[in-house]
Each structure stands twice: as C-alpha cells, then as structure tokens.
Symmetry: C2
Subunit: 278 residues, 2 copies
C-alpha cells in the first residue's frame, strides 16, 4: 500500500500534507490529509477526524484551526476523504447525502456499493494500517463532525480498544431515526433494520456496546439539523439507561458550521491529546 | 447606504457575519464579511483585510484563523470582496488575474471599467464610511495578502492618516515590474505608466510617499510567486533608499497559501491591535 504525497505546505512548525494511496477495502485510490507537527519520525500518535456530508479530505484542514493547537506536540491529525471517488455506480452522484461524499462509514452490502463502499473497514483497517506502517504509531483517537461524528461514535463503540478516546461535534447519534441516516442505511445495507443497528450509536449502546472512558460530544443549540437529523438526546438517554459515561457540551447560539467547530476544537484536541499521552 | 446581513454565525464569543450593501463607488452591490468579537456597540476599531486574486469575502474568514486571536478584544476585522460582481464587462470574466475577483484596489480609468472598478475608492470611502456610520468607529488599520498586500501597502502609503498601521503577507510590492501587475494596471489604467506609479508601493516610496510608523511584511521563501510577481526586495531597497521604515519577516519553507498565513496571522493581528489601542 504505497503512500504518495500529492502536496504539502509548511504550516506552523510542521506540515499539512495531502496523501493518496490504493485501498484494499474500497479497491479505489483514497485520499487523506494530515498535519504533522514535527518530522514524521518524531510523531507518536494520531487523532483521526471523520468529516461530514459533502466534505473531502480538505475542509477540516483549511477551516478547523486544529493545526495551531497541535503545533509543538507529537500528535498528528489525519482526515480521510468521506467516500471512494472515481466510480460511477448507479445513483452515486445524484444527491449530496448518499454516494460520493457521503459514505457514512459503513461496510455496504447492497449491489454495486458492496464492492467499494467499505468505509468502516477503510478507517478501521487501511488507515490505521498505514499509520502503523508508515509512521510507526500504535495509539489512535477518533473524532468527527455530523456524519463523521456518527462515524466516530460507531467506530469508537465497536472498537473500544483500537481508539484511546472518542469525541464528536454535532453527531448524527441515531441515524435510524432521521432522514439522512435512513436513506444512507437503506441504500448501503438494504431493508433489514437489524443490519442498520450495527451502525447506529444509540442502538449500539442499547445493545450493550460500552467504553470504559467517557465520550465527549459538542452540540450547538442553533444547529439547524439538531431536531430532525442529530437528536443528541436519544443518545444521552440510551447512555444514561445503560451506564455509558458521556459528556455533552450544549452551546447556546452555535450552528452546524466550521465557525462553530473552530470555536471549540481546542477543547476536543486537548481531550484526545491527554488520552493519547497516557 | 443600508447594510444587510446575509448570514451570521456565532463564532468564539462573537459573530462572523456576511454583509451586503450598495456601493456609491462601484455602483453595484458589494459584499464584505466581518468578525465582531463583541456586540456591535462595544466595537472600538477595525482592521481591514484585503484578499488576493480569485478570493471573495469568504476565504479569509474560513481559513486564516483570525477570529480566535481577536476573540475578547474590541477590534473587529472586515474583509471586502475583491471586485464588483454581477456585471458583464468585456473581458471581465475571462481570466483569474483581471476583472472579477481581481480588482487590484485601483480606480480604473479605462472604458467600461471606469464606471465600476473603483476599488480604491470603495475601500477608502465606502467601506470606512460604513464602519464609521454603522459601528461608530474612527480608527482603522489595513492588511492583506498578495494582490491584497499590494492594496494594503498602496492605501497605507497614500492615506497615511486614515490607517493606524499597515501590514502585508506576500504582497505584490512592485506591480509595474511583474506580469500580474502589468496586465492589471494596463487593463484598468491604460498605457500611461505615470498612472501606474500611483498604485505601485515601490514607486510610491521612491516618489516620496512616507509613513511615520514601520510597515510590516511577511514573506515565505518557498513562495512560488516570489521571484516573478512579488519581488519583495524591490520595495525593501526603495524603503532603505528613502528612509521608510519596514520590517520584513522572511519565512523559510513557507509558500503562498493560507496554511502559511494562518501560521503567522497572530503576529500581524497583535501588531495592528497595539497600534489601534494607542
């Protein structure tokens, strides 16, 4: 799995880089970006950021302001693309909330998609494999926004030993209960809702998935998607019922944008940096 | 000149806003963005950021990371669009370095452009008028990047009492000597090079323009445009010859991008904040 650097920019005392490689899971080329605060050989661990609908590997790196916070540390941050690219599957490019730019971090089982849209395995296997082999890392944390917040919670709950800590901004905590999630889960997994539950953070907690640490969630109260798509309280209720620790910071007046994310990214990065430094 | 808010986002403890208004200078609607760290009535002064080629009023607000630095202060930062929009002048949309997205902060005199491309007056008159009348401000500083760095130096040198301080990232310091500048100055001003000199920071200093404070310039040494378009040293030489104080921070390994700008924006904002707080 050779890794190519497509471009790199000196940034703070490190580099923001854009990589490309061939993924065994998606059977396509995949892109991810990374900020290396120090030279590669000095990096000790990584935070993986999963982006939301319509994003590529670039949005987070240009908008969140994460690099300044990690400058001087030995923690890199890595941001994969949100779906395979370069395919032309039926319906793949028809809407912003399904197909390209909208992989939802699941392993698809439906015709066409099952051969490429294995974004769960891509993160769990390919990306961590690359971080281990190329940078000699063994400790990872995971976080994300919206669809990527969903991905971070699901991966964190299903792979509790793979990730040292888990946090999310404005996550889709209960995709089975909202239009975005229902459309994606049906499209990638078919009609059997038992399959959907494997990729629904609220259902996972209700079914017994557990982490020994506390999850961290950030949610703007002026988020236009809170009521219909995100439904934070469904997850909080499930966690309370099942004894999973979760801290939710509700933020008065903040929306769903990167303006909001950049306002609180430092808190989340310090949370992960502490967990990774243990 | 009524001011409409097109959108606003809670950001840090303030708001990033996008405004629109009708400009007497350009005779079009014009857009600008602003970060208000505190409520409008508590703002005391403003930094104006002039963007580079192809930018709108949005790039700086999403990429530079300025808002975090100004959070908690009474200094707002304002970022105007880089040209009039919505016209269809001959050749206006044919290239990235002339016409729309490339106003070069001059008052055009050529046919067609002379009626609308008065970006020098737009900044000097309309924008400062709005900041005075809507926010009750009287103190301004100015800064910018590339074409906007050129704009900041020219406006700062020609209007020394209007702006408390002037700085630039990767500025085109001597547009008469490079392809971008030559194309723009010819297109907006015609063939008479005496007219070009009024919008060339190096020529202005050579002709006697002077500020009593020190200019601040930041320049990446891996900037792909340094040699052919920016030519920082031409300006440094003119300043030395004429006794204009200028501090240039050359940055080893940094390029022309917002990754570079965000690495050093804090230093520039603190420079302006100090000057504005006098």
């Amino acid at each position: 799995m050779p890794l190519s650097i497509l471009k790199k920019h000196r940034h703070f005392e490190g580099e923001t880089r854009f990589y490309e490689h061939t993924s065994p899971s998606t059977k396509t080329k995949m892109k991810f970006s990374a900020f290396l605060p120090v030279p590669p050989e000095k990096i000790e661990n990584a935070i993986i950021w999963l982006s939301g609908l319509t994003c590529t590997d670039e949005n987070f790196m240009t908008k969140a302001g994460a690099q300044r916070v990690l400058a001087g540390t030995r923690t890199m941050i890595v941001c994969p693309d949100t779906s395979p690219r370069g395919l032309n599957l039926p319906g793949e490019h028809d809407s912003y909330d399904f197909g390209s730019g909208a992989g939802f971090y699941v392993n698809a089982t439906t015709e066409g998609y099952k051969d490429h849209y294995l974004m769960y395995d891509y993160i769990k296997k390919d990306l961590t494999y690359l971080l281990r082999s190329e940078f000699n890392l063994s400790k990872f944390s995971i976080m994300g926004h919206s669809m990527g917040g969903h991905g971070a919670l699901v991966l964190g709950l299903r792979e509790p030993t793979l990730f040292q800590s888990v946090s999310a901004f404005s996550p889709i905590v209960n995709p089975m209960a909202g239009p975005w999630g229902q459309k994606a889960l049906r499209g990638y997994l078919g009609d059997d809702q038992a399959e959907w539950k494997k990729y629904d953070a609220t259902e996972l907690v209700l079914a017994g998935a557990r982490r020994s640490d506390s999850l961290l969630i950030d949610q703007g109260l002026s988020d236009e998607f809170l009521e219909k798509e995100l439904m934070t309280e469904n997850f909080v209720k499930a966690c309370k019922e099942k004894g999973q620790e979760v801290k939710v910071n509700y933020r008065e007046g903040y929306d769903h944008s990167y303006y909001y994310i950049s306002s609180f990214i430092e808190e989340h990065l310090r949370f992960h940096h502490r967990a990774l430094s243990f």
